[in-house]
Subunit: 319 residues, 2 copies
């Protein structure tokens, strides 16, 4: 009997990754193509289809394709659409309809953070949990909220925007047009901004004094912190502290068993988890104290977004 | 055929109200007894049982009892318990077990705000909605969050504590031991504190300058505001503004179709709804703007808590 797999597709602003995944989360090949964000969605899938077919041909003797899951910025699960993604020139487009031109199979779409949450539930750190929150710490801060074993999509399909809860209404300018959103502090971009603030406010010596804002990235800040750079360490402390403070508010809404940190900045491990956990505990309403775990992603680095997208459709098929 | 009813019991710090309710939310008699908060839970139910029997006797010819729902402070749905309620000398006690001594019927318990949310869903302003939040504005601020048509209990049964999300970490002292919780601003107690602040900070003439803190209640502030008292009006403006600001954060988590305001302070109607709605819109992440209704409770004043408790068990029976 052939092994059943789903196709996971993760659409990013630069590259679109894809791969085949079985119901246990085992990967069978993965690849990627350039997204070409200035082109249409139809163009992307027209280029993607032959590449998917080519990759599937290598496993077709022993595998059967059961469905397609897509993670994309501003992906809307209810409507099957991507709606005005900030980094793609797509407007509003029905991706599930486009997929039907190529495959007569179940298909679903959601945003990347929601896909990650389902990935963690099926294959990762949230296995067996019914109530948890996944926080993706990348360029921005995304989140996927799971309640009673189901992803929270809300009335419009856009629930789970913890990155746009407000830490300081008079604070940092956010890409969304407001000020002080959590993601302007706790994200790969946020920690760069915090480093700049610390370079301005303190006299602490730091290797980061030789790096421009545009050259700075969160890996560099992590390496400096690991090498003992006090300013870099403080940047992680502040990033985790603000994250923990706002997560305490989110816990008061859904009372999760765990919060799982995912994405580039989360690779800093305890450097970000420890201050986030400490601040969370300090700021929690007493009934929630000493209950909420803060965990790193349980998905393999590098392929986690494809696993999340594949998990999305596995979760539908299993229903 | 006899009409099926459930018994709703609302346990307050002073009185315990109860009554019978059919599946359409129609009430068949209600009554109350003193809670005697210094006594045990067993004592309350021993006194309650004959009163319930007496009331049921008046409708027993034409009605049959199908279950019992209880709303109580710190009620835990998962465990059937009330756990260390702030205003009852009960410690941790299993209420569902106690009820089994009297009735061999399905029984369930939750806190009053969650019961109200189920009441609104079955009988009130949230009929037909799958994603909404009920905010109870009483002495404190309680909340019940519904996602995908189900109440969010979270991992421990205590989800929905929006009153204890933090507006200002350096702000007003809260009963929970922290500072600046939303309920210290937006509740019947919160608006009294705001009046005191305004009496201190402004020179505005106000009828409320003749009232002591202990004598002041939210009805009085409402009457003054209706009579044109500028300071009282401003107190409602501030109360609604802070409520809207923190509700914007909650909307970012669960993306509800509506937020329903319930309880004593909510009886002020547009005096509180208008500034809350305005502030909510101003503070929402753009994808949620012009989508979220802010509505008054659709449950009849006076009997709403009993209806909520009855709805809790109707919701279980219907599953």
């Amino acid at each position: 009997m052939k092994t059943e797999v789903t196709l996971g597709v993760d659409i990013g602003g630069t590259n679109t990754a894809f791969g085949f995944v079985d119901i246990d989360g085992k990967s069978y090949g993965s690849s990627s193509i350039p997204t070409k964000p200035q082109n249409s969605a139809a163009d992307l899938f027209a280029r993607l289809h032959p590449e998917v077919e080519k990759l599937f041909a290598t496993i077709a003797d022993t595998h059967v394709l059961k469905g397609i899951g897509v993670g994309a910025p501003n992906g809307n699960y209810y409507r099957g659409t991507v709606e005005n993604p900030p980094n793609l020139n797509w407007g509003v487009v029905n991706v599930v309809e486009i997929l039907k031109q190529y495959y007569n199979l179940p298909a679903a779409i959601t945003n990347d953070a929601n896909a990650s949450a389902i990935g963690e539930m099926l294959f990762g750190a949230a296995k067996g949990m019914k109530d948890f929150i996944v926080i993706t710490l990348g360029t921005g801060l995304g989140s996927g909220v799971v309640v009673n074993g189901e992803l929270v999509y809300g009335s419009d399909g856009f629930a789970g925007e913890i990155g746009h809860t407000v830490y300081d209404p008079a604070g940092r300018q956010c890409g969304c047009g407001r000020r002080g959103c959590l993601e302007t502090y706790s994200s790969a971009t946020g920690i760069r901004r915090t480093v700049m603030e610390l370079l301005a406010s303190s006299n602490e010596e730091s290797a980061l004094r030789n790096v421009s804002y545009n050259d700075l990235d969160s890996k560099m800040i992590y390496s400096s912190a690991i090498a003992g750079d006090k300013l870099a360490k403080e940047a992680f402390e502040i990033t985790g502290k603000i994250l923990g403070l706002k997560l305490a508010d989110a816990v008061a809404v859904t009372s999760p068993e765990a919060i799982i940190l995912f994405g580039g900045l989360a690779l800093a491990g305890n450097m970000i988890i420890d201050p986030a956990k400490k601040s969370l505990e300090e700021n929690l309403f007493h009934v929630f104290r000493n209950k909420v775990k803060v965990l790193p992603s349980g998905l393999p680095e590098g392929n986690s977004a494809v696993l999340g997208a594949a998990a999305l459709i596995w979760n539908e098929i299993k229903k």
